[in-house]
């Protein structure tokens, strides 16, 4: 998409009656106004993709999972891959809002809002796949531990059940977090909005007046929520990783999985934040608020997590060799040199090698480069899950039933649809909520004035 020239963006702003209003308010609220053709085109695209996927999914429910590419013995495919991918994406938000908050990393303020939003949307997207993947969606309520006269209970030993709980918990917390952070800004928006927006914000801002009492309460809430959310950042993807680590499949059954997955998740999360924020900043001219400084910090994170992930890859291969367990060795050999070698090398290059370029400050601050890189990382992380799941299953203990899986087009449509699903929410978010935490930004400005430290 080509960003409209800054003038036209400026033209879209109607002169605000309140001239005394602060620049931050004006700049940031401007984003929520109007909507260019390009914007609606994007919305249409996203919704279209989602509907297409929906259609395919209905067909799948009617026809049977067979329309997907599953082939014995590979019984998990693109759906689970994409599920893990989205759960991973969902990590940056909470990390930024919670952990960085606790560490008082100021630079988070400019990006935490959008990151949190992404978290919420990504979790919702991921949750879809739990349903899409099962064979009998109409019976999937069996997985909920509800009292029933059949005296049937769920199996708490099953990682899939842990998954269900982990995802729901995470969704709840991240939504609450997102909303609490929004309240002061909604109030700002309320004071300036008219029409339906006025109504909406009035309701949502819960009568926020910005009194010191409220601020105190607000800050304490955020602090405590961060405390709550921090362990979740680590727990959710650990649990997801146990879907694999708890099995006996060669290439899955590894103790390294939890930290490995968490690092990967944060990695992909930040990449997604970059992928989303770079165009947003360009289009809505937010350079003042989302500065290269932020991007550089994020790329530092990318670099760190990329190293961790790269180390995990190496460790897996080392252990495979060191264990002298033949199926493990074979499994890993087939990863790199078997039928799925392409995905494996894509994963290694995109996640392990390319990000090393971030050692150079020039590149860390080169926005176009960061954009491309973040794209590559998204691809790489999707393939990481593909490699783990598919190659693991296709080369298991009994050589007589080694098989090959290739995704079918309906699967790919649904995967594509999940991106549409995610994007439509994000696009909506751009127009309905302040994309940057205004209040917090102001806070920073005040600090800046006070201590003369700038960026």
């Amino acid at each position: 998409m080509t960003p409209p020239p800054a003038e036209s963006v400026a033209a879209m702003i109607r002169p605000t009656p309140v001239t005394r209003d602060s620049k931050a308010n004006r700049d940031l609220l401007r984003v929520m106004e109007g909507g260019s053709l390009g914007y609606f085109a994007l919305v249409a695209l996203a919704v279209g993709a989602m509907l297409a996927a929906g259609g395919v999914w209905i067909w799948q429910v009617y026809e049977g999972l067979g329309i997907a590419g599953y082939a014995h013995p590979v019984f998990w495919g693109a759906y689970i891959v994409t599920f893990v991918f989205w759960v991973g994406i969902a990590h940056a938000g909470t990390l930024i809002s919670a952990i960085l908050y606790l560490f008082r990393a100021k630079w988070r303020n400019a990006i935490n809002r959008s990151a949190e939003a992404m978290t919420v949307f990504a979790v919702l997207t991921a949750a879809q796949f739990l349903g899409i993947h099962v064979g009998r969606i109409w019976k999937s309520y069996f997985i909920l531990p509800y009292p029933n006269q059949r005296a049937l209970w769920v199996n708490f030993k099953s990682p899939l059940l842990w998954d269900t709980f982990a995802i729901t918990t995470y969704a709840t917390i991240s939504i609450v977090f997102f909303y609490v952070g929004l309240v002061p800004d909604l109030a700002i928006a309320r004071d300036r909005a008219t029409g339906w927006r006025k109504v909406l914000y009035t309701i949502l801002s819960l009568g926020w007046q910005g009194t010191s009492k409220q601020w105190k309460a607000h800050n304490r809430t955020v602090l405590h929520l961060s405390g709550l959310a921090t362990p979740l950042v680590l727990s959710v993807h650990s649990v997801v990783s146990w879907d694999f680590a708890m099995s006996i499949v060669p290439g899955w059954h590894a103790t390294i999985f939890a930290p490995y997955f968490v690092a990967g998740a944060i990695f992909s999360g930040f990449a997604m934040v970059l992928t989303m924020m770079i165009p947003v900043r360009r289009i809505f001219a937010l350079e003042e608020y989302i500065t290269d400084y932020h991007f550089e910090n994020m790329s530092r994170f990318l670099l760190l997590t990329s190293i961790i992930v790269g180390y995990a890859y190496a460790a897996e291969y080392f252990i495979a060799w060191y264990s002298q367990v033949e199926p493990e060795q074979t499994s890993f050999w087939k990863r790199a040199f078997g039928p799925y070698w392409i995905s494996t090398w894509v994963m290694i290059l995109c996640n392990g090698v390319f990000p090393q370029l971030l050692w150079f400050k020039k590149l860390r601050t080169n926005v176009p480069f960061l954009f491309v890189l973040s794209m590559l990382i998204n691809v790489g992380m999707w393939f990481e899950r593909y490699v783990i799941i598919i190659t693991g299953l296709s080369r298991e203990y009994d050589p007589a039933v080694w098989g090959i899986y290739t995704p079918s087009w309906p699967e790919l449509v649904i995967v594509a649809g999940s991106f549409g699903f995610f994007c439509q929410f994000f696009l909506l978010f751009l127009k309905v909520f302040p994309v940057v935490a205004i209040a917090e930004v102001k806070e920073l400005e005040i600090h800046a004035k006070a201590h003369g430290e700038g960026h």
Binding site: H72, P73, K139, F142, Q324, F337, G338, Y397, D398
Partner: protein
């Protein structure tokens, strides 16, 4: 959950008496429809078993037809029948589907000149045939397959009655050469019977007796009994195979020789000569004309034979003297694949060898010549000439499909055009009936009366077990009706009653009811002769056969162990069962050696053009190690144009040919005796450059030294060293010494408690711990890999018993076949090179290497099952009796259980197979005791839990607490010809499943045991019967990984 559910039966109980055809609607059953008159032997809900005879091939095995509510739902062998003793082959198991086949003719039909089809009533049809015959006078001919004696006699007398005419019996796989040879060697024109019971040295000259031979079920039982590794004699027993290709028998053999195709006879003579000298040296004399023997054997010294056959002289000498020394040796004649233009001589040579080593009268018996017409290819040729010259105006075809099974070269198709009226009695459409003017559909075996006499002393009855589903009529009754329509004077010579009456009168010399109950009349002492060698043998000329065509490959037409001569091709159960050797389903493939493939520059699936002077076929290639370089092998049976499953019509393309028919490449030539010569052409083989993915069902035959399909040398067995003791290297099953103390091994030790020495280690855990203490059962199995021939009877039995749907070629291409039981075929211990050098999954065979392990793989019902903990909803769980329960209606289809199953024995319902898989009237054959699975649920082997429940109920009714051992037989165990599978209660010390494992403790192992899954199935390793032989690839690659990641 299911549309065609078992209540379908209740719904149609009325049909048995009411006669109203049941239509399967998709609503659940709402009506209870009882009988009008309930047969007193039938109790709804309980099976009734009738004895009958299998008509799928000419062997004549006894059947027990298991019926529910007057509907056959499963065929099992008749334990009393001397031929099969309760077992049944894959073909027999699948033959139940003929009765419920959706293709069947619903009524007599007439095909107009314009090819339009119109249904007729029986009166009309009979009248039409009668008038045609009246017009034809003596220009009537009956062409048919081998039938039971009574029907055969009826046909003859019918022909006389209607005014004469010719009768031709035609069996594509008739063994005329053998009969002719026995005439030459013994002066008796009959097929010798080979009894392998207790033999200690068997040499099969390409007959593939275990797969496609004269009586595979019987021979598997006898041979595997003789080779039972528990007995010293059994361990010493040897099986030598001679043939160009590694087939089922070769895979089971201890030594495999691959002489030039067609020279098997010379090899036999060479061996006979060595044996003869040894026999004479030991002061014995073969019965019969010694001079004739000597004169025949003279020119065949080991060295000359070696040069002519390509078999080393050393081997000839060794085998010859071994046979002479053996206590009960026997040599078996070649089968279809090797009936060259010198087939009679070849067979004679083998019989001569039998005579020399004194097998005649012991392992080989010569029955007196059978009365009645016998199949003769020469007569078929005569008939074709007659047809061509217009001397046949009415041709009646029954029980055979000549258009398919005769080579185009024979000109049958053209000759058929000249016949005024062709009447077919086929029960479902085939290539021939599609060209018939009239079709008078015959009953299927399960609907008709009949009999069979497989051999002297064995008479076997066929009785109807279901009311005809469609408006059909048995062949006998049709003939009688036609005769009567011709008028009294003609019918006068014929029996007045129905065909049933004819049968009864034919059996009037016995207690018919008793015979019906028992399945026939079985007296072990059939009249048989033990003649000496007659001088007639000198007539024969022993030399290499000639081949038509100038190609560089000998074209080897291999009879398929499943599709036989193509008659099985329209039975989906046989199509979907993987070929025991190549593991390919639903398709044709061409086998060439890897060397040849390399020269042609083709890899598996590349399409070859195979060209003989008689035709060309394009077939995807399947390179193998186990075939001679100068041979291209094509299986007989595919290449049909007609039939929903036989042709590719199912895949949408109506009438598209499925696979290729090798018959279309063959000449219509005969051997010396006039028998059909199959091995008579050379082919030019070229790569076409196109590719076709082959639906093969096995990943690789390299077991990579993992604890699957094990084998053990006699030495190790004697020493009691089994290399796979659990505390040894994780997956180094075949490691020479336990230098690897893998962590996994220790894990399994922890469960078993302390133990020193191999024995304790082998029993590192007691599977009977894995059921609840209160529960009297822990179900388990013992599978003897040494006895498994890979015949796949168990696979089909399981499919029929458990309502397992067919997924078709498309499904198999995605490995979605639903079979709960598969037979894994591994060659050697495999090697763990991380990448396999050669292309293709079947790349570890080698010429002369017989180290093939067929290891049936089904749910191991683990004690510590990986599938159980991962199911979020307890759809799979551990039952009190120690089974891994699988509750379909609880399953939500996360498929985690399958991912976590190291044996990969779980199958998923990708589509609503219960609808697509069972076209009308197939739902009638569903087993009402087994839930038909719906879309989106996982399924797997249950150890036939429905049979357990029934048996436990029966036991309780009989006042016993638990069923006694053997009362419960799983479907696979029940049908296994070689008795490789034993099922029982592990908690019962005296149960056979325990004793067998105990007696074979030396070679007992559990698949992938080091994963500590505590399987309930105990495998018994294949025995390598000669040290240093057949270790195959143990040498090809070190057991430890060469490379590491």
């Amino acid at each position: 959950m299911s549309e065609f559910d078992r209540r379908e039966f209740l719904k149609i109980i009325g049909v048995g008496a009411g006669g109203a055809a049941a239509s399967a609607c998709s609503d659940p059953v709402e009506k209870l429809i009882p009988w009008v008159i309930q047969p007193e032997e039938i109790t709804p809900g309980l099976p009734v078993i009738y004895a009958s005879t299998c008509q799928e091939c000419t062997t004549g095995c006894g059947l027990h037809v298991r019926t529910r509510e007057a509907r056959p739902i499963k065929l099992e062998g008749n334990p009393e029948h001397p031929v099969n003793r309760g077992a049944l082959c894959a073909r027999g198991q699948a033959s139940i589907g003929r009765t419920y086949h959706p293709d069947r003719y619903r009524s007599p039909v007439e095909r107009g000149a314009d090819g339009s089809i119109s249904a007729l009533t029986w009166e009309e049809a009979t009248a039409k045939v009668a008038s045609a015959i009246k017009a034809a006078g003596s220009k009537v001919a009956v062409l048919g397959g081998q039938t039971g004696p009574t029907l055969s006699a009826l046909i003859d007398s019918w022909l006389d009655a209607v005014g004469g005419g010719t009768r031709v019996v035609y069996e594509p796989f008739a063994r005329e050469a053998l009969r002719e040879a026995s005439t030459a060697v013994f002066g008796v024109a009959s097929e010798p019977i080979f009894d392998l019971t207790d033999t200690d040295y068997v040499i099969d000259f390409g007959g593939d007796m275990l797969g496609t031979g004269a009586s595979p079920v019987e021979h598997s039982r006898q041979l595997m009994g003789a080779r039972d590794a528990r007995r010293e004699r059994g361990r010493a027993a040897r099986l030598v195979y001679v043939g160009p290709r590694l087939d089922e028998t070769a895979s089971a053999s201890d030594e495999w020789l691959a002489p030039k195709p067609g020279t098997e006879g010379l090899l036999a003579l060479g061996i006979a000569r060595v044996a003869y000298d040894a026999v004479r040296a030991s002061g014995r004399t073969p019965a019969g004309d010694v001079d004739a023997i000597e004169s025949v054997l003279k020119p065949f010294g080991p060295d000359s034979v070696a040069s002519r056959t390509g078999v080393p002289a050393e081997a000839i000498r060794r085998i010859g003297s071994a046979m002479a020394a053996a206590d009960r040796p026997v040599a078996l004649p070649p089968g279809v694949a090797l009936t060259s233009r010198r087939a009679t001589a070849t067979n004679a040579a083998v019989l001569l060898l039998d005579a020399v080593v004194g097998a005649v009268g012991r392992a080989v018996t010569i029955p007196p010549p059978s009365e009645g017409p016998v199949a003769s290819f020469r007569d078929v040729a005569k008939l074709i000439d007659a047809m061509r010259s217009g001397d046949v105006s009415v041709l009646l075809v029954h029980d055979t499909n000549p258009i398919y099974s005769l080579p185009p070269d024979s000109g049958f198709a053209e000759a058929l055009e000249k016949v005024g009226l062709v009447v077919s009695f086929a029960s479902m459409p085939d290539e021939t009936s599609e060209r018939a003017g009239l079709v008078l559909p015959d009953h299927t075996t399960l609907e008709t009366w009949g009999d069979a006499s497989p051999r002297p002393g064995v008479r076997s009855l066929v009785q109807p077990t279901i009311r005809p589903i469609f408006d059909t009529q048995s062949l006998g009754d049709s003939l009688l009706a036609i005769a009567r329509a011709l008028g009294q004077e003609r019918a006068a010579g014929l029996p007045s009653g129905s065909f049933r009456a004819v049968i009864e009168s034919a059996w009037s010399d016995t207690d018919f009811r008793a015979a019906l109950k028992r399945g026939g009349e079985f007296s072990e002492t059939g009249a048989s002769l033990a003649p000496g060698v007659s001088p007639g043998i000198a007539r024969l000329e022993f030399k290499e056969p000639t081949f038509e065509g100038d190609g560089s490959f000998v074209l080897l037409p291999v009879p398929s162990p499943l599709l036989t001569d193509g008659r099985g091709a329209n039975l989906p159960w046989l199509q979907e069962t993987p070929d025991p050797i190549t593991k390919i389903a639903w398709q044709s493939w061409a086998e060439v050696s890897e060397t040849a493939a390399a020269e042609l520059g083709v890899t598996p699936g590349d399409v070859l053009s195979i060209e003989t002077p008689y035709g060309e076929a394009k077939v995807p290639v399947w390179p193998r190690g186990g075939i001679r370089d100068d041979v291209v092998a094509l299986a007989i049976g595919q290449g049909h144009q007609v039939g929903r499953y036989a042709s590719a019509a199912q895949e949408g393309a109506e009438g598209r040919v499925r696979g290729a028919s090798v018959i279309s490449l063959l000449p219509s030539l005969t051997d010396e005796s006039g028998g059909r010569a199959w091995l008579a052409a050379k082919a030019r083989v070229t790569a076409t450059g196109s590719f076709q993915r082959l639906p093969f069902t096995q990943g690789t035959d390299n077991k990579r030294g993992r604890l699957l399909g094990e084998s053990i040398s006699l030495v190790a067995l004697a020493k009691g060293e089994s290399p796979w003791a659990p505390n040894q290297g994780a997956f180094m099953a075949a490691a020479p010494h336990g230098e690897e103390h893998g962590g996994n091994g220790d894990a399994s030790d922890d469960h078993g408690g302390g133990h020193e020495g191999p024995h304790e280690i082998r029993r590192a855990f007691d599977p009977s711990d894995d059921s609840e203490d209160g529960d009297p059962f822990r179900w388990g199995m013992t599978i003897d890999v040494d006895k498994c021939t890979g015949c796949s009877a168990c696979v089909v039995a399981c499919t029929v018993e458990n309502n397992i749907p067919m997924v078709g070629e498309e499904g198999v291409l995605r490995n979605r076949q639903m079979s709960w039981l598969r037979i894994e075929r591994f060659v050697g211990d495999g090697y763990q090179q991380l990448q396999t050098g050669r292309p293709g999954p079947q790349n570890h065979e080698a010429l002369g290497d017989t180290d093939v392990r067929n290891s049936p793989m089904l749910c191991q019902q683990c004690g510590a099952a990986p599938c159980e903990p991962v199911c979020p909803v307890f759809a799979t769980y551990h039952t009190p009796s120690g089974l891994n329960g699988m509750i379909y209606n609880r399953c939500i289809g996360t498929r985690y259980c399958s991912n976590n199953c190291p044996y990969k024995v779980r199958r998923f319902n990708w589509f609503d197979y219960q609808i697509t898989g069972w076209p009308e009237p197939m739902p009638l054959m569903l087993n009402p005791d087994v839930t038909v699975r719906g879309q989106g649920v996982m399924e797997k082997c249950t150890f036939c839990v429905q049979r357990m429940q029934a048996a436990r109920q029966d036991a309780k009714s009989a006042g016993r607490d638990v069923p006694e051992d053997g009362a419960i037989q799983t479907a696979c165990q029940q049908t296994c010809p070689s008795g490789a599978i034993v099922f029982g209660n592990l908690k019962d010390e005296k149960s056979r499943v325990n004793t067998v494992a105990e007696e074979n403790a030396g070679r007992a192992y559990r698949a992938l045991h080091v994963l500590n899954t505590r399987p309930a199935i105990q495998y018994l390793a294949k025995v390598k019967r000669e040290e240093g032989h057949g270790t195959g690839h143990a040498a090809a690659g070190p057991v430890r990984p060469e490379k590491s990641a």
